[in-house]
Symmetry: C2
Subunit: 162 residues, 2 copies
Amino acid sequence: MTSSVSPDPSPGGTRWLDAEEQRAWRAYLFSSLLLQDRLDRELTHQTGISHAYYEILVALSETPGRMMRMSELADRCLSSRSRLSHAVSRLEERGWVRRQVCAEDGRGQLAVLTDEGFAALDAAAHVHVESVRTHLFDQLSPEQVAAIRDVGETLLRHLDPR
Amino acid sequence: MTSSVSPDPSPGGTRWLDAEEQRAWRAYLFSSLLLQDRLDRELTHQTGISHAYYEILVALSETPGRMMRMSELADRCLSSRSRLSHAVSRLEERGWVRRQVCAEDGRGQLAVLTDEGFAALDAAAHVHVESVRTHLFDQLSPEQVAAIRDVGETLLRHLDPR
DNA sequence: GCGGAATAGTCAAGCCTTCAACTACGCTCT
DNA sequence: AGAGCGTAGTTGAAGGCTTGACTATTCCGC
């Protein structure tokens, strides 16, 4: 990984990255970090909604009845249950989401998007989509867009096989 | 961005993503989030060093004298100055880094990697490289690796023009 | 030299995330 | 029915990150 930490040529040892691989890895890592950071900042500063909260609102908005079980929502948002529970509590304080006990399963809770929440999402979506276009799609050729989709789906099959 | 938030067909309005673009964006976003999460967890659990701290140690190890100005280190690690200052304080407590006043600029501080820090990095590097290989390079064809490098460098030129 | 602006870094408050309990409910076997 | 176990979700404490204010030092034009 580093040039100072010496490679181990012994068979069975660590499979170090060569110079080309390091370049690819760093370009990929740094660019994705910077992109996420930029998108999150623009969204947060212009709308007061972090990307994490935005993802929760989007997930709810796409569902029939605009409601979803807490666990399902956590999975959808790549979030732990605890994290989601805290986040929903904050969104509840803003009046954008409310909790509702689940009829079929007494253990369960449903997170429900309110009309105020939907309106907030609607406003934020304009800002966010414009950011994604400016910093991602406007920068890439159609071939590059196809490539990130291909690589993304390949990695998802490995990292998150459903 | 969402199918529920209705597209705006008016000229000059928000340039919404079509279905294909959404697919590409989500695959890219979720895969990069999951990959970072996985790598960070494996590194943290197996070595006690988070990826953020690892990057700091790597940056220092690659420099002549294994030392770097705080600001330069912050830039290199995509970190704010405040965050880096906190992180270096923690690394100091572990005995892996020490601070040293900068000779040329009385305002400045140098972060210096200690021998203990180098040893810790050396151990962590094996774990981390193996993770990167398992979850990234082993999953991708040479063409896909070339693609992530190409896209990464393209985005870096836009997001971080030096 | 000296006053003002810029730069380097630290610090404190507040929010977010994680981890490890903990409560409550449902399912199954007897 | 009820014991035992697994699942759903919440909570609180601990620690990390961000923001903005603050100190100290250097640079620059007069």
